[in-house]
Symmetry: C2
Subunit: 176 residues, 2 copies
DNA sequence: GCTTGACATGTAATTTCTTACATGTAATAA
DNA sequence: TTATTACATGTAAGAAATTACATGTCAAGC
């Protein structure tokens, strides 16, 4: 019963603070899902696995049958081992970008519509990330890593938004 | 037997030109795998599925038992339908970026080492994409879409490489 | 009292993806 | 001639991910 990427991510979150499965699900939905999408139907079985492996323990119980989990010392050691000793997969999977390879199959009009949509999404997310970044007090060492992570999102969305605009311009140049 | 993202990607490649499974595998490894990783063990069964669905046909046979496939008219219609009428999944999956969320668990030294590595990878790929871009004749309408796709890679790697350098600087500032 | 929505946790079925197994051909270089 | 590499195609087993099924609590507003 080896622990995978999702298990280590959950472990990392539970080292930071104890959480219920529901809270972990929301944390994923709000932030981690941008780089590692997952559903509650995967999280709950994974928590059971982590508990069976002694990497987390149930630290409490709340209303509506909620259970709070916390990482054990072994769990902390395991997530550190994962970070230090294992090589992350290089792979990136994004259907939006995949489709760009097949835009030539579409009439230029539709290709441009697609690229405008993609650009719009990137700009939306950019605004969202910038709003989050604005709430992180600058220069606070405790939030340094959060700021670094959100900055990656900002630069990514910014670059891709600009790329989409540039791509539309390229297509327009040729249309005229 | 519904066709998924991989099936449509194969279809898209086979519309462009007829290929063997081996050639499709290499095309993925060299370019599409950057946005949609896959293995030959997934490609061969998928080709059988596409053929059974009448979306591709075997158009020839070569040495060493190789089979060449081409998209049928239905296949072309299907890939166009997919591009026009279906909404691409928004999700992006990247373990490298996931790990950034857990860098705070590591000593600053190791976090910086990680970020330097990430930066190095991005710069490597940037150089690779720029080399490819240099081989595409500028202003050639036939290669317009290829140029647009590779530009996305260039901007992405460039932005992420700069982000990694910035992140290292941020951590160094606090260390001193 | 009733309805809606957020909270909360799970399982089941299916599909997709990865890793490993398995086999064989043709060309090239030592 | 023999070893290595690139070509070439598949299957099997297992892990991971998605979608659907399934149930129930608590609070707020009507």
């Amino acid at each position: 019963m080896a622990i995978g990427t999702l298990g280590h991510a959950l472990l990392g979150l539970l080292v930071q603070r104890e959480c219920t499965g529901y809270e972990l699900t929301r944390t994923f939905d709000e932030s981690l899902a941008h780089v590692w999408p997952t559903k509650h139907s995967q999280i709950y079985p994974e928590l059971a696995k982590l508990q069976a492996a002694g990497l987390i323990r149930q630290s409490g119980a709340g209303p509506r049958g909620s259970k709070t989990y916390a990482a054990t010392a072994e769990g902390l050691a395991e997530v550190r081992r994962w970070m230090r000793d294992t090589i992350p997969s290089e792979s990136v999977r994004t259907e939006r970008m995949l489709r760009v390879f097949f835009l030539w199959l579409m009439p230029p009009e539709e290709a441009m519509t697609y690229l405008r949509e993609v650009g719009g999404r990137h700009r939306e997310r950019l605004a969202h990330y910038e709003a989050i970044a604005a709430t992180i007090p600058a220069g606070d060492p405790a939030n340094r890593m959060s700021r670094i992570a959100i900055e990656a999102g900002i630069r990514f969305e910014s670059a891709m938004g600009e790329w989409a605009s540039w791509a539309v311009d390229e297509l327009e140049k040729c249309a005229s």
